[in-house]
């Protein structure tokens, strides 16, 4: 529910603010006090949307003249908007692709990359599922369709229902490259065709909460108490590591990644100030609060 609501609330908030501003417009007879105001359009990754909103809220409270509008939609959506020139900052949970970079350059836009936080991808199952740990090899076999029963990985005799985000999610692409293909660029392994592609994080949590057959993955920041997180090992022999800020920073948890913001060209003015603030300890403290991993150690 969270990403849905929050992502939806941002434009609403903005509309509300605009209406307020319209109401406060100059009335005849009173001197016009021109308030310097800047609007920053921020769009992209659903993984980042809650974090971006928390940043925007805190920053706007401190800098009332800046308005930041945050929307989700997926990393691809944000980067497409960046290329089309409709946003000031694109959020992405994966680095920009070569083809996206080329298209941006063709349009005269030179994307600049900022690493703003880190995220661990948690493997989640139903709380009633006895499976405690899985290796990357096992995860790859599960999602590519080679393992189809929980019995084969030490669980009950139940079919495995694979859940994934839609293909426009940066998390999906990351999972494909680093779990299914184990980081091997030559590997052409694909998701099993019967993998359910759900349009939202909430869709995945809702299904896993009630279905003991299901397995899914999502950013650590989205994992709620009523879902069970599985320990993951790079090596089949272990050690099996639970995702947390410590294990991500220590680089022992194997499925962790950087989160990015992109600007069209070197950021100027308010956008530059905002990005500098995001890298400050104050903003990075918010990262920790939301279950992500800060970049400043």
């Amino acid at each position: 529910m969270k990403p849905f609501l929050r992502a939806g609330a941002a434009p609403l908030l903005l509309a509300g603010l605009l209406m307020l501003m319209a109401c406060q417009g100059p009335t005849p007879g009173t001197p016009v006090v021109s308030q310097p105001s800047a609007l920053i359009e921020n769009k992209g990754s659903d993984t980042l949307v809650n974090l971006a909103l928390a940043w925007a809220e805190t920053y706007q409270a401190q800098n009332p003249h800046v308005r930041i509008s945050v929307t989700g939609g997926g990393s691809g959506t944000g980067l497409a908007a960046l290329i089309n020139g409709t946003v000031d900052i694109a959020n992405a949970s994966r680095p920009i692709k070569q083809e996206e970079l080329e298209r941006a350059k063709a349009d005269g836009i030179e994307p600049v990359e900022f690493i703003v936080a880190r995220d661990a991808i948690a493997i989640i199952v139903n709380p009633n599922n006895p499976v405690e740990r899985l290796s990357i090899d096992q995860l790859s076999d599960i999602y590519s369709g080679k393992i189809n029963n929980w019995r084969e990985v030490g669980g009950e005799d139940r079919p495995i229902v694979r859940l994934s985000r839609e293909t426009n999610s940066g998390t999906h692409v990351y999972f494909l490259e680093h779990v299914l293909r184990k980081g091997n660029k030559e590997d052409r392994t694909l998701f099993s065709t019967d993998t359910l592609l759900l349009p939202s994080s909430e869709g995945i949590s809702a299904e896993i909460r009630q279905n003991p057959n299901a397995i899914g993955y999502d950013g650590l920041g989205y994992v709620t108490e009523d879902l069970k997180v599985v320990a993951v090992a790079k090596d089949p022999a272990g050690p099996f590591i639970m995702p947390s800020a410590e294990t991500v920073n220590a680089k022992t948890y194997p499925i962790a990644r950087d989160l990015y913001m992109y600007t069209p060209g070197e950021p100027q003015g308010e956008v530059a100030r905002y990005l500098a603030w995001i890298l400050s300890p104050q903003a990075q403290a918010i990262v920790t609060e939301l279950g992500f991993v800060p970049i400043v150690p």
Binding site: A80, R158, E166, T167, N168, T193, L196
Partner: protein, 297 residues
């Protein structure tokens, strides 16, 4: 006198223009779809386009699973909605007492006004867990769940239009049948329903059209796994429809890319399918009318 004819002339022209504009819009939409979708035929080899794997981020553009998914969900919805919708219409118009009719008809119309995203939520939280347990399936996010909800969405359309069609049958037909000694059921089945045939068929077509074009609900509850349906049991497996594919992926694609053209190609196929359904219905009504006229003359 001349004033009247001038007004008449104007009104006739206006109505004519309105009639032609509908045709014009459909044509323009189709031309637009061809312009954006036809390049897919050049960019994607036919053997790929008509293969069974849809995974656009890696260049797999097989649309058969999507067509199959839409057909399974739509046929399922039709099997649920047509009998239920028609019997509801018959009950409301022919059997129910007047006071009951006055309660039922608005209620059905309220059902028609429910936002489909709301039905999707109910589907995820209530129907999917129930269907999984009731049929003992691996997951409740299946084509059947989608068909059930789409049935609920198309029933109001079918009831409303079919009821109007039944209402248009002259009371004398019923009186005559009853006077000849027919039972109320024989009157409905042999006289009223055949007399309202073309309207009833329109109701069915509109209902099916509503089902095949519906997007949000199916995207939320059918699991969106692009698996080619191979038999009637596919109804109880996850499916990915054409509409859900377009909705889920359109936000991400860069305009002008192969994926973009492929999505418009799917739109074209969708358009052609609903055109075919409508033309078949029109042809059937037309032929039956001709036959009826021949018999009467």
């Amino acid at each position: 006198m001349s004033e009247t004819s001038a007004g008449e002339w104007l009104i006739t022209r206006l109505i004519k223009a309105a009639g032609y504009s509908a045709v014009l819009f459909v044509l323009l939409i189709f031309l637009f779809l061809i312009r954006e979708g036809a390049p897919a035929l050049l960019e994607i080899p036919l053997t790929t386009l008509f293969s069974t794997r849809w995974y656009p981020i890696e260049g797999y553009f097989g649309i058969l699973p999507l067509i199959g998914g839409s057909l399974v969900v739509t046929i399922g919805a039709g099997l649920i909605a047509v009998p239920l919708g028609l019997s509801t219409a018959i009950y409301i118009r022919e059997i129910a007492p007047r006071w009951m009719r006055e309660i039922l008809k608005p209620l059905v119309e309220v059902l028609g006004g429910l936002p489909s995203v709301l039905l999707g939520f109910i589907g995820i939280l209530v129907f999917a867990p129930f269907i999984r347990e009731f049929f003992n399936l691996p997951t409740g996010l299946t084509a059947f769940t989608g068909a059930l909800l789409l049935g609920a969405i198309s029933i109001p359309t079918i009831v409303s239009v079919a009821e109007d069609a039944l209402d248009a049958v002259p009371q004398t037909y019923r009186d005559a049948a009853l006077a000849m000694g027919a039972t109320p059921w024989q009157t409905i089945w042999r006289v009223t329903l055949p007399a309202a045939r073309s309207g009833v068929l329109t109701a069915v077509m509109l209902g099916v059209g509503r089902a095949i074009g519906e997007t949000m609900t199916v995207m939320m509850v059918t699991g969106n796994a692009p698996v080619l349906p191979t038999g009637p049991l596919a109804l109880f497996k996850p499916a990915r429809t054409m509409t859900a594919t377009i909705a889920a992926e359109m936000g991400e694609v860069a305009s002008g890319s192969t994926h973009y053209h492929a999505l418009f190609f799917i739109g074209m196929v969708l358009f052609l399918i609903s055109l075919a359904v409508n033309m078949t219905a029109a042809a059937v009504v037309f032929r039956q009318r001709r036959r009826a006229e021949r018999i009467l003359s």
